[in-house]
């Protein structure tokens, strides 16, 4: 892969210039939090953030979007799609992997045209990170990325090592060649190696994934699901914040004139009671335990069986944000029998 070097002091000018020609999305500081948001002149870019509450998916599958407007006798019309190039800067490796997982869902089989348009108009610039005590991407094999980005920046202190992942990425580099250097010398290589090993030593949280999908299959009937779910508020915060939770519902809203209206979709969660409830009152997942189990089964078993990789990328958002303090890694570890069930919760 082509690799170049961007001196640290050139990052701001680099992003500033990109912002002139594109919609630029960055990790932005707001109070104590960091959120992905559109860049504005003078905004504070968080270069060393840990994790955002909402993942990048909100820019590809927005929390709520109008699919069609309709008018009687005229059928369904799509709203004008957003146009123009976007550059999304600052995704950590787990979030890039997560987008690749979403690509399986939305671009294979029937192509979700809404998702595809947003994906196609967006360049991805990754950014290296250091883990906190909730990250377990190294267990999920998502701590590093080798594709799925146009550029990837590794923070080596004085400079960023920039991997070029696509021709579009290369074009960006070439357009701003006055800001980068093509020389990757021994010293930089050494620093990169040190960075990689220092980073991997920092992980605290781990998850043993060997045979996990099979263990989950065998633990389907475990009473432990209901026990853990006693603490679950069914708030949905874990699903909303998960970079690979993609469930949505579709609904219509008619206008006051009764002849026109909108069809929209919005995020939902398998933790909600009505999620598998059908007309007539039959609920295919009647208990909280069955719903919580669905979330973990889908991440670590069902998606794995479909795509050969887990849907969980180990970003730690679900457990960092659960108001009930449910630690999914602990739940899984205890189902493996590696820690006692009473130690959970």
């Amino acid at each position: 892969m082509k690799t170049v070097v961007l001196p640290r002091e050139n990052l701001e000018p680099f992003l500033g210039r990109i912002a002139r020609g594109h919609d630029l999305i960055v990790p932005k500081k707001t109070g104590n939090d960091v959120v992905f948001d559109y860049y504005q002149e003078g905004c504070q870019i968080a270069l060393e953030y840990r994790r955002t509450l909402l993942p990048p998916k909100k820019f590809f599958l927005p929390p709520e979007e109008v699919l069609f407007r309709y008018k009687k006798g005229q059928g369904f019309t799509e709203p004008e799609p957003e146009v123009g190039r976007r550059v999304f800067f600052g995704l950590h490796p787990c979030d890039i992997h997560a987008l690749k997982r979403l690509d399986y869902v939305f671009l294979e089989g029937y192509v979700d045209t809404y998702y595809r348009r947003r994906r196609e108009r967006t360049l991805i610039i990754g950014l290296s990170c250091l883990p906190d005590d909730k990250c377990f991407c190294h267990s999920m094999g998502t701590d590093l990325v080798s594709d799925g980005f146009d550029l990837f920046f590794t923070d080596l202190g004085e400079v960023y090592l920039v991997e070029v992942g696509s021709t579009s990425g290369n074009d960006l580099v070439l357009t701003h060649r006055d800001l980068v250097s093509e020389v990757v010398d021994e010293a930089i290589l050494k620093e990169y190696k040190t960075f990689i090993s220092t980073r991997s030593d920092l992980f605290v949280q781990t998850l043993d994934t060997s045979g996990l999908s099979k263990i989950l299959t065998l633990e389907w009937e475990s009473p432990f699901w209901e026990k853990v779910a006693q603490d679950c508020l069914a708030c949905g915060r874990c699903s909303m914040s998960c970079p690979t939770c993609y469930c949505f519902s579709i609904y219509d809203q008619v206008n006051l004139d009764s002849i026109s209206g909108e069809r929209s979709r919005s995020w939902t969660s398998c933790l909600y009671k009505d999620y598998a409830l059908v007309a007539g009152g039959h609920n295919f997942r009647p208990s909280r335990g069955a719903r919580l189990r669905q979330r973990l089964m889908h991440k670590h078993k069902d998606f794995f069986e479909q795509q050969g990789v887990s849907a969980c990328v180990g970003c730690g958002r679900c457990q960092a944000n659960c108001p009930a303090g449910i630690d999914f890694c602990q739940v899984l570890t205890s189902l493996r029998g590696d820690i006692s069930e009473s130690a959970v919760g």
Binding site: G75, E78, G109, S249, I250, D252, V278
Partner: protein, 282 residues
Amino acid sequence: MSQLLAKTENPYRPVRAKIVDLRDLTPETRLFQVKLVDPKAARDFDYRPGQFCQISALGTGEAPISISSSPTRPGLLEFCIRRVGRTTSALHRLNPNDEVGIRGPYGNGFPVDYMEGKDVLIVAGGVGLAPVRSLLLYILDNRDQFRSVTLLYGARSLEDMLFREELKTLERHPDLNILLTLDSGDTRLWPFRTGLVTSLFEEITVAPKTVAAVCVPPVAYKFVTKGLLDKGISGEDIFMSLERKMHCGIGKCGCCAVGSKYCCQDGPVFTYWDALNLPDMI
């Protein structure tokens, strides 16, 4: 199989269809005959028995509904729609010439090619007749491709039985064996028996190479499949059309998931063997 839409087009976009005729089948269930507005789309629309469409009542919503007509009789599409909630009630308010939106056909449908050359046993309960009627008509129109054909159909009462008149006529068909039962009611009403649909199993003998197609209410699958297994039908040859909550119909929204399968795409027809491998399927 031709889809209504090429893969590059927006798969959520319904096409316009006009209601040609409406007929009440039971107090809650109405037969909708519809025709796609675009003549080319109407001509090209092909499907397999057991597939379904997402039907839009403009302004209210969409609902997955099985196609009740057979692809062997092109032109008009038929849907039996039971009024149970918002969208189905809105569909019931429509009149001939009103428009609905249609996407599909979706799902796998019954494996008619595999069923060829075999004895076919169809088991249906209540509104579950809707998808298997398509199969029944398909078989009738290709009668020489199949060996014996038996339909076991149960409804709560005479009033709740779909296609009563049609079934009475078919009952006399020399190449079909039709057994009808009512949960309760007047037993003297020929040709109806009383009792659950499973009680009809006592009256039939099952040939060695029999495949079964089943569509019954969710709670009944366990009993029906047990009965079929007891009759010697292999789990791989029991095809069940299952119901789940659906929104997208195309494997995106997640809400119809059964283990690693999506009911809307990998189903709605699953075998008993699938059910053994996917917990909570039936």
